[in-house]
């Protein structure tokens, strides 16, 4: 009985081994490295407090994780943000202080600064929520080589989905977007990559 229980425990531990098991990129990331790094967009947004937010300068020397989505998104948006919040919470200060998570709405008509503020800070008070005009948001997506968001059909209640890029783009501290994190990125993947992103080029 004891031997049997020990076997089960060992098997359970193996099945739950917490290391990222995806093949790593050239620089050891679980995320997908971009063939050519992209630059931070030199654009001005409005943050969730209603203040101007110059993307490039406001995130200087930070690993910046950018995600385009919308607050009524039913699937990937809350999953990405909740997983990032959970992982950052367990990271040492040396990592936390060098990471900025930026959510940019693709639905500025419904996502007012107040709505973004409540939604984004429900995940983590340090997360940054941004909005802007449609043209600025589209340009930002274009500069990050993301497909522009598309508004879906309006339903009977006036609601609509918004199709948008589902990847988080990670900019290293030198201001270059180098790694994309696709849907399916797990917390253990983030835990593996965040320290590498912070240390990249330093």
């Amino acid at each position: 009985m004891t031997r049997y229980a020990a076997l089960l425990l060992v098997a359970g531990a193996l099945a739950c081994h917490g290391k990222a098991d995806a093949p790593l990129s050239a620089h050891g990331f679980v995320g997908a490295e971009l063939a050519a790094p992209v630059s931070k967009p030199d654009l001005e947004f409005t943050d969730s407090r209603g203040k101007a937010f110059h993307f490039d300068s406001a995130t200087a020397d930070k690993v910046t994780l950018v995600f385009f989505g919308y607050t009524s998104c039913p699937d990937i948006c809350p999953v990405h943000l909740a997983n990032l919040a959970a992982v950052l919470d367990k990271m040492p200060d040396s990592v936390q202080t060098h990471v900025a998570v930026v959510f940019v709405t693709t639905d500025p008509a419904r996502d007012t600064p107040a709505v973004i503020d409540q939604w984004v800070h429900g995940f983590d008070p340090n997360f940054i929520g941004l909005t802007a005009s449609d043209s600025v948001i589209t340009r930002a997506q274009h500069e990050m080589q993301l497909d522009p968001a598309i508004k879906g059909a309006v339903d009977a209640k006036g609601g609509y989905p918004v199709g948008h890029a589902a990847a988080v783009i990670a900019f290293t501290r030198d201001g270059k977007g180098r790694v994309a994190y696709l849907p399916g990125t797990r917390q253990r993947d983030w835990a593996h990559d965040l320290p590498l992103l912070v240390a990249y080029g330093k």
Binding site: M1, Y4, A5, L8, L9, A11, G12, A15, C16, G18, A32, G69, C73, P74, D75, I76, C77, P78, V79, A82, N83, A85, A86, V87, K90, W119, G122, F123, Q145, L146, D147, G152, P161, V162, G163, H164, A165, A166, A167, A180, L182, P183, G184, R186, Q187, R188, A191
Partner: protein, 285 residues
Amino acid sequence: MGRGAWEPAPCPMPHAPWLLAMQWWCAATGFPWTWTWQWYPGVHLLLILLAFGWWRLGSAQHWVARPWGWFAVAWVTLLATLDWPIGKLGAGYLASIHTLQFLLLTLLVGPALLRSIPPEGWRALAPDGSATARFLRMMARPLPGLLAYTALVITTHFPAVVDSAMTSQLGSLSIDLAWLAAGLILWWPIAAPRGFVVLGVWGTIGYVFGATIGPTVPAMMMVFADWPIYQLYELAPRVWVHFTANQDMKLAGLGMKMFGDIPLWGVATYVFFSGNSMQGELVDG
């Protein structure tokens, strides 16, 4: 709705007959959660067959009294556990609801189903000297019961098993049926009719203690793991936007341990203070 250049192209859906394309059993789909009722014919079909089988068994065996109450408890709990919304939430959205299903199937449906067949029914099903009687007597011994129950509980909670099984209707059905079997196996040594059971007072207490060990393994993994152990629930669309996968997993682990042990410790306490094993009591009434 996620979509973008970084994503792989979706797999083309092969043409399938409507019977195969239909959702018969609750399984993970990856679609956003909706509170709109959904029909799962497989669940209802199983429950109709179960009720029909129970009715036919009682008629064929000429039961003096049908244990309606116990059968109703088992049947209604099964319906609530497997059907929308609990079945759907547990299959693809929340680990805590998946655990609730486990608790209901093993701790309520299992003993209630055993109780829904009267002693004369069991004796007719397993006449003295038959292979069935030998099998039921063997399973009423503590070690086979404990080993089978523990193996089922731990195996069906392996992350690799859960993540792969719950994404198909057949896999999800298999997990549900395995938990139902685990409930029957767990309670048989305690609740079987006289003539099958070998456990005395201290044997029952020891058995019950042993039965609390198996679920402790997945429960502790969920509570103490740094990161969510089930990919399925970690990446599932959220039911409540700020109820995170981590909170869900901790709740599942705590619930499994806390609420899973209570009925078993209740049995141990009852047996200890009454000075009688429960053999036959659940079934004999």
